[in-house]
Symmetry: C2
Subunit: 157 residues, 2 copies
């Protein structure tokens, strides 16, 4: 995957997100890509992202699913409109609802893989299902309902 | 509220959680308390906990709800058993599922208030509903289903 990540296309003022903004120097810098009709991302938690010793903090798992979800929603909407992510007008999404089922403890110390499926695109709303895996096993199943940010709000930034 | 927070009662090996562990030096150090039959916590996001400029990162909102939920679940279970949180055996909870509805953008730069209600205690499972407010307005509504960690897992730590 040598292409640009979804988040690399975000305009500067939209790139300070703690989860995925390239300009947030403290942030997680999540980067999401297409893999066929699915979206993928990989993240290796920091040593202090602990729930109980040896396992990944659930809030981080939720954060990864959240940002991979909104990124996937934007990419899916561009694809539906048949245009590239650097074309205008800019499409950005925020999370309306986030659901995570923690299926098993997520081991700390290995890369985590996220894989998303676009369940539905309906007007300004995109629903994305996401699995988070470690060592090839699904540890969490997430669902993000993302809504497109109103143009006037983007312009105000 | 001069009493100890729920999380202050956690044994050392359970106190490295990034969200609420007092021994995680990088963590958020969320502290939860009873307020009558409800549970409360306050957290002021760091300046870099950004979603879009001026607003709080949704993954942080989810993290606050998550840790306040598992802490509230433990406190509720102790209370149901009619014993204090420093009595044995130790009751600790992890998140089975987390749901967050983002009702409006959460402003950055003010303290966030969490308020939880114990919806149900059923065996090893506790359901907690949580509202997150800023400037007196509810910005997110969460629901945590927490399950009690098996004794053998606590002993193994």
């Amino acid at each position: 995957m040598s292409e640009k990540a979804f988040q690399d296309y975000y305009a500067e003022e939209m790139s300070y997100c703690y989860g995925c903004g390239r300009l947030n120097e403290h942030g997680l810098h999540i980067q999401s890509y297409w893999d066929g009709d699915e979206t993928v991302a990989t993240y290796e938690p920091r040593p202090y992202h602990i729930a109980i010793p040896g396992y990944v903090y659930g809030g981080l798992v939720a954060s990864l699913i959240d940002c991979h979800g909104t990124g996937s929603a934007a990419a899916a909407k561009y694809r539906e409109e048949g245009r590239s992510m650097d074309s205008k007008p800019e499409l950005r999404f925020v999370t309306a609802s986030l659901h995570v089922d923690y299926l098993k403890p997520t081991p700390l110390g290995v890369p985590l893989n996220l894989r998303g499926q676009i369940e539905q695109i309906k007007g300004r709303k995109v629903t994305v299902n996401i699995q988070l895996s470690a060592n090839g096993e699904i540890c969490a199943q997430g669902r993000v309902i993302a809504v497109q940010i109103p143009e006037h709000m983007i312009e105000a930034l």
